[in-house]
Symmetry: C2
Subunit: 749 residues, 2 copies
């Protein structure tokens, strides 16, 4: 059954290649369209190559640090290499996704000039390249590393690697988690850098172009318009791809690690007559086969999507939703025989966890839709407040954003409690958390499809830009606008999935962290027994409760509270840094556009060509510069907290960042989405329509929301997981301080 | 030494009476001034009486619930009465403060027509009435209740009250905490209702008056101007008074409870040859005498404040800061002999905690000043971004707000860790938390003075309004403006103190909550032994660690995480509710003002008098209606979480609300303050000055900031503590469900 994983991964990559080749065979339209597409392509690739150069330096430094840690026996020697591959494949996904997207935009515009359905097909299948590459590479990497570690490395590196001869699985899953940290690091840079790039260009283009010069969006006279289109690709395609690669891989890896650990501590409860190794393999196989099943159903769903020529907004959303629902139902039905055949003793419970994950995902998605679509009250309320003034529209939008976390939080809480207890958490805490992890994997199992609908958005958006700039017939722009508007909703739902699964996965990561601590204690530091209360406990037999007691991880330990406060503060300050970065970069862009309009009056008259390249260069330079500080903060904070406050402080930190970051990310994403769609609602003629005072007020809201929803919000999602991953990978260093009691514990107790 | 408490309380009330009488003897100026003052007075009193009517109903219901709980032996029979008195005195403070403030505004305007110093003296001493009434009543109530419980009630209610014959202190401090819940409940309604009132009127007046009709602030032609001035009184005076009454009383009560509990569990460590009762009394006396000392020094400081006629902004802030610094230094010096004479075995450590509290308070205050005063970079950056557009000013302001929590969080974390360990937390967890509580009491010890400078702000503001509307000489308005501007900074610092002390007090409340649970188990439910792990533990001897184990309060318990998520969500949703309430109420006000301008064109020409009363009525009705839902949510959530998830869930909930609420409150308060002062910075001539595009953009920021800084932010402060208090008071009910394991524990374990 396990082999379903690599097979599905290869099938996914094969279909990605097929879709890419089909797309490339289509026409890119006339010369002007090709020229514009080429400019966007060059800008995007130039940005990506500079970003990868910066990230390479960071990876080289971290690789060096891990080598040093390995040398001092504070980390497993394979970790540095696993870390590198995670970053490499994540970056590769971003690259392929963006290459496809930048090649697809002109082709989508050209196809849309024939019919709405043609446009939809080209954009969606180009998006599907990204979706399938992400899930394909992620599952391939996981399974190949597993094979390597399981069959090859014990032969070459017997001593330094595997001392748990009877059951090497705990070591293997722990090493593989460091592969997740590579992916997270890459994802954070991609999201933060891409997010700053895209919003600096967008805000800059809008502020001068739309508001001051009164020219429409994507007007070729706007010098920032190419940069804006490049931004959609580097932020919403490459950034999002790296982000979800990380979420997907992280949830599978963390769940596998928990499955192995749960079996190890369960006594006979979850062995069902098997050896620990056999049972562990079965529990590792469950998330992998679930992911494999999701891939196959995603490909099926992509083929299902089509639309009629006279489709309206609702029909288009319906076409995409049908794909999502059918693949979800497919997973619900087909996963039952799979978990049964895997021979899991609690197979029915695990299947219920899968259902819970699917349902939580749909609730989170629907709640996002409710709060951000102008078919519903909240967004319309914002539009009504825009009728009063920009200030009231902003207050209302912030309030809507803050409220919008309620339902997702409730769904997550119910999902956690349900999965935990149904999987057997009352008997074995780790098995309960394994159930929560399985729910996260289930939520992300349709990622191949949801990511396709997600990446489709910026492609349609860029196609519209291409059509506008190339001066195509008005009907083409109308069709691409229609495709793009649906993309806004699918993007918001995608963000909901990402953050929801992050919340579920993070619980698993808290436990995985302690499992890593156990390995560090036994394998690297040779600590076999610890004293808890008056009892001597064998480290390999320590339960999670023992860990909690040993490290005093209770809410009355000031180290935990210090960590909690620091975690909350980190989420807020990180958001502040990314938002200010956008503000600064956008201000630079505004000045440049104003300068061009001022120094070359021929631009606005349409007689002279603006200097697009300069705007692209400004966004690129600003994003490079601004992404460093927040990304480094995310890596440094958990290490510093761990050294000072020990394991207890780290767990407080992670809980604080998780809970606050989750609520803050939803608030920012949904406030931004709601402002955006309130503006669109006014544009379709409500409250005075385009050009009215209400519309101007809504544009202010939309502009404020841009960095919230596309930079700070989604970056928080990765922050949460990167901080968990950093904690796991640096556990060896932290445990070196008083066995994980931290400096506080060493000197004050 | 303990008697210093009631004596200082009576002195405070005596001086308050003196200052009030002195103020009332001054002239209220000409007839027009008196008329305006009368209108504001009537509006304010009308509002307050309606608010108290609504609150009375809530109190009656809660009183009934507590009676029922007492009847079923789920709560002590004295609790309902203690609860009522807390609410009563808190309301009384608000009433007296507002009566003074509304009588002082015209008198301040009249005094300011003579000289700046005269204006300052009248406003400050009127503010001092409020400051001294709050600290005086709080300390009097605490000491009188203590005397009653200690000497009288055992005689009349021997059986149902005190079974711990040797040491009744744990029972007494537990009952007195419910007095804190009364104060918190009153405070929440006052803050939320007052906050909605004041900002609805303010936003409404500004949006139509300043932005649309282009008439200056406080122009008599603006129909909402009286409501705006009433709002300053009901929100910033009555609301703030109730708020800080609660903070002040809460910190003393929680610290006392911890002192008693710490002694009870310390063995001989903190007895120093005394009996438990004697040592407990000493630890109770420490916060009370510290507060008494602070009162005496506050009165001294009020007499110190005076200014020269040519004083600028810095000189005025200097005059007020001098008072704060001198009284802080006085406390630092004089508290050393006091804690020594109290005979505390760890007197030097407790004194260090007092110093820590004073220093954390000053750091939080200074950080607030840095982020909100336009003498510093952050606010100037917002002004610079306003030069670009409203949207960038808003992004920058949100970012500044989010960043501004960093330093206070760091100060609080260091303060907690320092106080905890220096007081002896490594030996006795409760004594460590007692040290943290003492730091909170020290931070608030100068409240008599800081609250005077706080309440002085709205008085000066109203004096300015009075001068403007009465058409006094321009120099009067300039002087009151100068006084008012300083008030903005003192108000921001006051909010910093309130939220900082809330964070410190809440830690103490977490432990006090478990102490209450202990009493419920032993006294009300007759549970004398529980099984933890394999051991039978006597409940009266359970350590905090035992509680953590018994209720499984670790970060890997899904009930704790469910509580944590719920707590974070509650903070966000509560903020959303209060902000939307302001938005809705303000929209009603905008419509009314527009209607009056439209239907009676004579108003804007100055020929006809606008209908002030109608605007006052709109704000009043809206505030009444809108305050109910958020206030009830704060009371219901902890009970529901407790019933479902048990003690573990409640502790997670409180930690989540505390950590997130703290960061969110600072973010909102400081973002609002910074926008306000960025506008003021532009008004003094930067970036184009009044009437420029930058100014208009800054006005949008200021308006968005209004409900954040004056409604949602300060309300969160009380939300945090009310939820803790509710948990303490309803502990009996929660423990009734599976001894505090909750429904989850009863049915799933």
């Amino acid at each position: 059954m396990w082999w379903l994983g690599p097979v599905a991964a290869i099938i996914a990559l094969g279909f990605a290649r097929l879709f890419y080749q089909q797309m490339m065979r289509l026409s890119e339209g006339n010369e002007k369209m090709q020229f514009i597409a080429q400019a966007v392509r060059e800008g995007a690739m130039a940005y990506l190559s500079r970003q990868y150069r910066v990230v390479s330096v960071v990876f080289a430094v971290l690789f060096g640090i891990f080598l040093i840690l390995s040398y001092f026996k504070l980390q497993n020697p394979i970790v540095p290499f696993a870390f590198i591959t995670g970053g490499l494949f994540s970056g590769l996904c971003g690259f392929i996704g963006m290459k496809t997207a930048t090649n697809a935009s002109a082709r989508t515009a050209f196809a849309a000039s024939k019919s709405l359905n043609d446009g939809l097909q080209v954009a969606l299948r180009a998006g599907a390249v990204m979706g399938l590459v992400v899930v394909g590479f992620a599952l391939l990497d996981i399974t190949v590393w597993f094979l390597l570690l399981y069959y090859l490395f014990p032969v070459f590196l017997p001593e330094s690697f595997i001392s748990l001869a009877a059951n090497p699985l705990p070591q293997i899953t722990a090493v593989m988690l460091s592969f997740g940290m590579g992916a997270s690091t890459q994802a954070l840079f991609a999201r933060v850098g891409g997010g700053i790039y895209t919003k600096a260009a967008d805000v800059g283009a809008d502020l001068v172009g739309k508001v001051e010069a009164n020219i429409p969006e994507d007007d070729p006279r706007n010098p920032a318009t190419i940069a804006d289109n490049v931004g959609d690709n580097v932020g919403d395609v490459a950034g999002m791809g790296a982000d979800l690669y990380e979420s997907y891989a992280g949830s599978i890896l963390a769940t596998s690690a928990l499955g192995v650990a749960a079996v190890g501590l369960s006594g006979v409860a979850f062995l069902d007559g098997k050896t620990e190794l056999q049972a562990g393999l079965a529990y590792i196989s469950a998330p992998i086969t679930l992911a494999a099943l999701g891939i196959l159903l995603s490909i099926f769903a992509i083929y299902l999507v089509r639309t009629r020529e006279d489709a309206d907004q609702a029909a288009l959303i319906g076409a995409l939703s049908r794909g999502l629902y059918l693949s979800s139902i497919g997973i619900a039905v087909l996963s039952l025989p799979i978990v049964f055949l895997l021979g899991l003793p609690n197979w029915l419970a695990i299947w219920l966890c899968i259902l819970a994950g699917l349902i939580v995902g749909i609730v989170v998605g629907k709640a996002t839709e409710y709060y951000t679509s102008h078919a519903f009250q909240p967004t319309r309320d914002i539009a009504a407040q825009a009728h009063t003034s920009p200030a009231t529209a902003l207050i209302e939008g912030l309030a809507v954003g803050m409220e919008s976390g309620g339902l997702p939080i409730a769904a997550i809480v119910v999902g956690i409690i349900f999965s935990y207890y149904v999987a057997g958490g009352a008997v074995n805490l780790l098995m309960g958390l394994y159930g929560v992890g399985i729910a996260a994997v289930a939520m992300l199992s349709t990622l191949g499809f949801t990511l396709a609908t997600d990446a489709y958005g910026p492609i349609a958006d860029n196609a519209g830009g291409n059509a506008q700039m190339a001066g195509l017939d008005k009907v083409v722009r109308e069709r691409t606008d229609q495709l793009d508007a649906v993309g806004n909703t699918t993007a918001a739902i995608g963000k909901g999935f990402a953050i929801g699964s992050a919340a579920l996965t993070s619980m698993a990561l808290l436990a995985a962290y302690l499992e890593e601590v156990r390995l560090v204690l036994t394998e690297l530091r040779g600590v076999n027994e610890v004293v808890i209360g008056n009892q001597v406990v064998n480290v390999t037999q320590m339960t999670m409760q023992n860990f909690m007691e040993y490290y005093n991880v209770t809410l009355l330990n000031p180290a935990v509270l210090a960590g909690l406060f620091t975690g909350v503060g980190t989420a807020f300050i990180f958001s502040s840094m990314t938002m200010r970065a956008v503000g600064r970069a956008a201000a630079g862009m505004v000045e440049e556009v104003r300068r061009q309009f001022h120094e070359t009056p021929g631009i606005l008259e349409g007689k002279e060509k603006p200097d697009y390249a300069r705007c692209v260069a400004i966004s690129t330079a600003a994003a490079q510069k601004e992404m460093i500080a927040p990304a480094l903060a995310a890596i440094i904070v958990p290490v510093v907290v761990g050294v000072i406050f020990g394991i207890a402080g780290v767990l407080g930190l992670l809980a604080g960042t998780l809970a606050t970051g989750f609520a803050l990310a939803i608030t920012m994403s949904n406030a931004g989405g709601a402002w955006d769609n309130a503006k669109k609602y006014i544009e379709i003629g409500e409250f005075g329509g385009k050009g009215s005072q209400a519309h101007k007020a809504a544009v202010v809201g939309d502009t404020v929301g841009d960095p919230l929803k596309d930079t700070a919000g989604p970056s928080l999602n990765i922050l949460i997981k990167l901080m968990s991953m950093v904690s796991v990978v640096f556990a060896g260093l932290i445990v070196a301080f008083g066995n994980g009691q931290g400096l506080i514990g060493m000197f004050l107790h």
